[in-house]
Amino acid sequence: MNRSLVSMCVLAMAWSVGAFAQAPPSADKTACYAFRQRAVVELKEVQQEIISLAEAMPAEKYTWRPAEGVRSVSEVYLHMAAANFGLTALAGAPPSPGFAFQGYEKSTTDKAQIIDRLTRSFEYAENGIGNLSDADLLKPLKFQQFTSVGDIVLHIVAHAHEHLGQSIAYARMNGVVPPWTAAQQQRRGQSSPAPRPPQN
């Protein structure tokens, strides 16, 4: 292992103590991997970031889109919410009252309403996945390329991450620095004036 990789691993350890210490141990010691628990932890992180980003985006930018035929800021947020509601119900959670997938993405451009729906959708997905049993994950299911409830759970997490990345890019294109990056830059600026490599 070269010097760079050694340094990297040292930093990885320093970073990750906080990261993985929070993953709750599986209640079931016979299970191979705490898959559901990790999914919930991941979703909570995405929730925290996307909500803070949605708050940071000015309301007048909610209808901005990078090109015709591409989702706008509000449509991306509502698409995430719709996926959380729809896919978690598909995985076996009791359907969220009042949610209808059809037309959901374009149902509003109101910032406060969208943040509220996004928040509720993440809470719904986290509770829904948290309440599944390990046995539930094995239940067969046919949706697109997915064949089990476990596949859908992984997709819910991956889908949320993908649109978080898209939303960060949208924010940057509109001059909005993600709040966690701004906070990090402020901390670094206070401690060191050294130039920094690019961020997301």
């Binding site: 103590v17 210490a21 909570k44 649109h163 990090q184 997301n200």
Partner: protein, 201 residues
Amino acid sequence: MRKLSIPFLALGLIAGGSAARRTDAQATPKVVDKTPPSYDMKPQSLEDLEDLQKKFTSLAEAIPADQYTWRPAPDVRSVAEILLHVAGTNLQFASALATVPAPFELPKGYERSTTEKAKIVAQLNQSFDFAHAAIEQMANIDFKKPMTQFGPDANAGDIVYLIVTHTHEHLGQAIAYARIKGVVPPWTVAAQAPQKKTSQN
């Protein structure tokens, strides 16, 4: 981007930095489940990575070479830097699984080591092939294998999770970069061929 990025400080691959954000994560609801060994995430992770590789490399091919240095704002990663960031992360985390040898070593400053399109696409492909091979060598039980270098409760399954979610996050970012430069993702072009669809990524 996020939680994976802090380790990359040593390589100059700084990222979104959510280490601090992790600390606010709430406790997961306790579930008492005595069911015997359950869902094996390996097949779906591999399938997902295959799909991500196809999308990432086809998108990288579709973006013109002269746009590889474009970035949405100063201090934000360029197209080339995102692609190399993904390749570097795949390599670093799949290496940690220690199942197969890495195809190449990560030099210092890897993210900015080149802006040459052909080279970047090739390295991106290699990194996905490597991550796929590394996970393929794992048995279900290996996912529980402790990886304490990443934290007291970390295990190999967490690393697989991170490889998948990190790549998804940057795919979303890369798609947005492509769109603002007028590039339609090739899979969207294919999907739209028979009929006009509603708004896409």
